[in-house]
Assembly symmetry: C2
Homo-oligomer: 214 residues x 2
Amino acid sequence: MNANLKLYQSNGSPNSRRVRIFLAEKGVTLTQVAIDLGAKEQFSDAYVAINPRRVVPTLVLEDGTVIGEVPAIMRYLDEAFPTKPLLGADAKEKAVIQMWERRMELEGFAAVMETVRNRAAGLKGRAIAGPHDYEQIPALVDRGMERVKDFYTDLEARLNEQPFVAGPALSAADITAFVTIGFATNALQLAIPEANAATSRWYNALAARESFSA
Amino acid sequence: MNANLKLYQSNGSPNSRRVRIFLAEKGVTLTQVAIDLGAKEQFSDAYVAINPRRVVPTLVLEDGTVIGEVPAIMRYLDEAFPTKPLLGADAKEKAVIQMWERRMELEGFAAVMETVRNRAAGLKGRAIAGPHDYEQIPALVDRGMERVKDFYTDLEARLNEQPFVAGPALSAADITAFVTIGFATNALQLAIPEANAATSRWYNALAARESFSA
């Protein structure tokens, strides 16, 4: 238990879930502090002082250094706890995994998030998370749904070539893709298309791991 | 000269520019292959076989491994050529720099790109780079201009606190912010606001380095 590392997170936040699964896969435990998004605690003075971007998760190191942004939090954890790397062990693996994790995020996760934020009545004027207010753009909802469908098509093609998203081994790229699918299923009712056998096989195998219910 | 590393890139591409400056700052040279975006060479069978995402830049390693996505290319170069790291030397630095580089990209660079791609007559039906076609959404142009202005405000606040984007030293985060400003100035006529003295000072100091004209 690394009691001097603090993770501010929320159980209902898909971005927090990416980090929780990452930690569970690595077997790293640390202090978790719950932020209540329902009560808008991410906008509280206390939390904004920690993360001015007003989003979860945030990792705070023993010396007070604040790490925001999920890929940066994963980077810290993989470098500080190198046993069982999920972002690669050498230059080539690190680059290949970062490329695939990023594609899963920008083509999948971010497309789901954009659709949700431009559609939800409760997010009017908050179409982009962060310190600035932006109005919703309804046309982004249809385009977002289309993008998520394209994400599923591309992921199926990839998993017909390789057992895991970044290649032969489980990595952070699988975690981001897995969380994206849960998010799309719950928030947009866009589950894995029935014909996508490779994706379903891969998804069910991950879902059976205890770490993936973190 | 690392003749066995090949960088496919384009002189007119802001994403390619991020990698060219990164290489020049590190003093790493490699084989550059020009891709002619004006002639739509990124859609050619030969290039799509290398990078199915149809974007530049792409780095190809000696063993044929393909690295796309600018932050992943930078990751490879910094890990393979660790002298003068631009993405940090230890776990904490790596995480802090990745966080700031990502913010510069998502809040700045991506906002400029989204505005350009949803506005340019020549990009109708191509609002997002990549293998899929998406229609332009005109409302994204106004929102994008607003986002770029907010990026300038936040960057000024940051550079009033620290000499460089990620803290005390020059890093990849400065490169991405610098290229974003050139891109916003040229493509959107959104230059650094006159009142933003810290940003102007930082920008002019970087522009005076030979590497930043790469």
